[in-house]
């Protein structure tokens, strides 16, 4: 059990697609619903009077949600099989809650997008797939749900799959899987369903257990954002000055030649310290403490990288931004920015386009981004930021924006690949991400 892997996934679907029922079903069928939870569910079903145990009540935790029968925020659920531990970010499907799906998607290895077999691919489906691709979720599973209500029809499943593939071709989703299910009846959730003999793939749970996630991290580019400096001030550790942090990408080994950014000074790793002893090698996402050979001024927000593989250091960059509060993002406004361990102030200089969330087409000529809108924004920051394009590494390319008056997190950004100017050509490569 100690060597089980951890898989984080998120679920998305529109209001009645049965997300909560699906998660309830996974918990129920993997025997993770406990007697007291079942008892509580029975109590609440007695109150609503329909006498049916509602699996959705397992995840809809807050009073307002029960009263309105909706999910208002990201809820995290946990279950395990002998093969893997799972963390589920259950996010609501309403139009106004794009921000919650973005939040749940940011750490996910995999997204489950629910499609109602009776409705097929609708605008909501497109929106969810777009967000999954924007957040670079490595694996996407389209669960075509309520197959029982379309007589378990293979033709309908194939049609929906074709529709989805046609529209998703431009999204750059790395790994796409389709599974016909009925969450309510448990078809193809844990066990292969006899009602779907034409489907030869694995049931959902087996896919979740087996999908290969070893490549989901970036293990190519060594990145160590310095989080905290450890100085013991004790006689026996007189010379100890350790740079604590979580490795955001790649490997570090004792003896590696490193560059410290943004200063550009160079040194060598002398020790990879942990409370459990020294290591010869450490890799993402381990939390360790590095010591280096030279007495260089290094503080929180700096980044230690290998000398032969340097990220971008710049005060201007473009990013896809999802706006998360009622008050719109304004061109020329000033916001706090946190990127890795580095905090500064940022100003949106220009909004290059906004994504029409229904057509997924870029719209130009906009001056702001409203709640739940997504757009490509050019930023300038007060100090140089250290980053990789988000599509290279989520943890060195993602940032949050903070309103400096209210302290609220107002936006999430994903840095775009800086455009390459090819001599003699017009740079017109406008792509969604």
């Amino acid at each position: 059990m100690d060597n089980t892997e951890l898989l984080r996934f998120t679920t998305a679907g529109s209001v009645d697609d049965g997300k909560s029922t699906l998660i309830g079903r996974l918990l129920y069928d993997t025997k993770l619903i406990m007697e007291d939870q079942l008892e509580a569910l029975q109590r609440s079903s007695d109150i609503t009077g329909d006498g049916q145990i509602n699996l959705a009540n397992l995840t809809d935790g807050l009073r307002a949600e029960r009263e309105q029968g909706i999910t208002i925020d990201v809820a995290y659920r946990y279950f395990a099989t002998p093969k893997r531990k799972f963390i589920v970010a259950d996010t609501p499907g309403h139009v106004q809650y794009t921000r919650n799906m973005v939040t749940g998607a940011s750490t996910a290895n995999l997204a489950i997008i629910l499609v109602d077999a009776r409705q097929g691919v609708i605008q909501q489906t497109r929106r969810h797939a777009y967000i999954a691709s924007l957040l670079r979720i490595p694996h996407v599973v389209i669960c075509i749900n309520k197959m029982d209500l379309v007589a378990y029809s293979e033709d309908i499943f194939n049609q929906i799959r074709e529709d989805f593939v046609n529209f998703a071709a431009g999204l750059g989703i790395r790994d796409l899987t389709f599974i016909p299910i009925s969450a309510l009846h448990g078809d193809n959730i844990v066990d292969k369903s006899e009602n779907l003999p034409w489907y030869f793939g694995p049931p959902l749970l087996r896919h979740l257990e087996d999908v290969y996630i070893g490549n989901d991290r970036n293990l190519q580019d060594a990145r160590f954002p310095v989080q905290y400096v450890i100085r013991p001030y004790k006689d026996e550790f007189h010379d100890f000055r350790g740079f604590a942090g979580q490795i955001a990408g790649g490997f570090f080994r004792k003896g590696d030649p490193v560059t410290i950014l943004p200063s550009g000074k160079t040194s060598t790793i002398t020790q990879i310290h942990t409370h459990d002893g020294e290591l010869d090698e450490a890799f993402a996402p381990m939390s360790v403490t590095l010591q280096i050979a030279d007495d260089i001024d290094i503080s929180r927000g700096d980044m230690i990288v290998k000398r032969d593989n340097i990220p971008h250091v710049a005060q201007e960059f473009e990013a896809m931004v999802c706006w998360m509060v009622d008050e719109p993002m304004r061109k020329g406004g000033k916001y706090g920015i946190k990127l890795g361990t580095r905090s500064a102030r940022a100003m949106p200089m220009d909004i290059l386009h906004r994504i029409n969330i229904d057509t997924l087409e870029p719209e130009t000529g906009v001056t702001g981004l409203a709640l739940n809108e997504i757009g490509r924004v050019k930023f300038k920051t007060t100090v140089p930021m250290i980053f990789d394009p988000y599509n290279r590494n989520r943890y060195t390319g993602g940032f949050i924006l903070i309103d400096e008056a209210t302290n609220i997190t107002v936006g999430a950004g994903m840095i775009c690949e800086p455009k390459r100017i090819v001599p003699g050509t017009e740079d017109t490569a406008e792509f969604i991400i």
């Binding site: 059990m1 089980t4 951890l6 406990m34 007697e35 007291d36 939870q37 109590r43 609440s44 995840t59 935790g61 807050l62 009073r63 029960r66 208002i72 925020d73 990201v74 809820a75 995290y76 659920r77 946990y78 395990a80 893997r84 531990k85 921000r99 919650n100 973005v102 939040t103 750490t107 070893g214 293990l219 989080q227 905290y228 450890i230 013991p232 004790k234 550790f237 604590a244 942090g245 979580q246 490997f251 409370h275 890799f283 996402p285 381990m286 939390s287 929180r300 998360m324 706090g336 990127l339 890795g340 361990t341 989520r394 940032f399 949050i400 903070i402 302290n407 609220i408 997190t409 999430a412």
Partner: protein, 300 residues
């Protein structure tokens, strides 16, 4: 070539260390809440991994209900001394005497009274961040709480107005008088905690292991007989081999029948358990939203 995969415990540990270091870096006066219970024992080990060989950048604090299992208090003091870290204790008893906390007539459990006591201690020491060992798998309201959970000047949690949390980026900005509750173990489950205790060989209070105790049956639970919870006239008590799964006020902490004498036994028992950990807490059974309501007021 060796494989570069990490086990789920390694990943959870790395995440929790990162969260604690964010607290150390972004707050002026943090505190770590330590009760001597199993989750806070894991918190101390994570803190060692995050900050040694330096001292912790925060003191430990216990909000003592006065209704304790005595074994727990001994353990709490011993552990803090072993680590050489400062321990602050603030008691509900004292808060009642000062009028900071008020008892509702007929209320026997002091879990609710921890809230005003905690808020008064936060104000007394001007703490701007309190690290706690709560986990999202414990309860439905917790499942929706952020890792960095903002509290206004009244210590209140507003579930409908939480800051979005993306990647491993936490927004720790607050104004004076407000504070943050931070839960580094948010993504751990009860089983993860026990597997970690086993892996790290952590010492835990004896009441987590099977022992013989006089208990009474109330509302489907075995509650320990004590001065605070005497038998009612005519009520029969039993001497059973029990252990506790979660520790609160002694008057509302249910015991489970158990023969588990080692951590490995406990892991086996939990993996096969049919009720959740909080199922043994009478204070959570009052209503569907008991925890949500207490949290809104500032409870952990």
């Amino acid at each position: 070539m060796k494989s570069h995969t990490l086990s789920h415990l390694d990943v959870l540990e790395a995440e929790s260390i990162q969260i604690m270091r964010e607290v150390a870096a972004e707050f002026e006066r943090p505190v770590l809440l330590f009760s001597g219970g199993k989750d806070s024992i894991c918190m101390l080990r994570i803190a060692e991994k995050a900050f040694r060989p330096a001292r912790f950048p925060f003191p430990l604090m216990h909000i003592d209900t006065g209704h304790n299992f005595p074994e727990l208090i001994d353990f709490r003091d011993k552990r803090a001394a072993e680590l050489g870290e400062k321990l602050i204790v603030r008691t509900v008893e004292d808060a009642l005497a000062k009028g900071i906390a008020r008892q509702t007539p007929g209320e026997t459990s002091r879990n609710r009274l921890q809230t005003p006591t905690l808020l008064a201690a936060i104000e007394e020491f001007k703490f701007d961040c309190a690290l706690g060992g709560a986990r999202r798998d414990e309860e439905k309201a917790r499942a929706k709480e952020r890792v960095f959970s903002f509290r206004d000047a009244f210590g209140q949690w507003d579930p409908k107005n939480q800051r979005p949390e993306l990647w491993n980026l936490y927004n720790g900005r607050i104004n004076p008088g407000e504070h943050m509750r931070v839960f580094p173990l948010s993504n751990w489950t009860e089983l993860d905690i026990w597997q970690y205790i086993d892996r790290e060989n952590l010492e835990i209070p004896s009441i987590y292991f099977s022992h013989e105790r006089e208990v009474i049956r109330r509302d489907g639970q075995w509650l320990p007989v004590s001065d605070l919870l005497p038998k009612k006239p005519g009520e029969a008590s039993h001497h059973l081999h029990v252990r506790v799964r979660t520790i609160g006020d002694i008057s509302c902490t249910g015991c489970v029948e158990s023969t588990a004498t080692t951590v490995a036994d406990i892991i086996t028992e939990i993996a096969a358990a049919k009720v959740t950990e909080r199922g043994s807490r009478a204070d959570d059974k009052r209503s569907e939203t008991a925890m949500e309501d207490r949290k809104r007021e500032g409870y952990f």
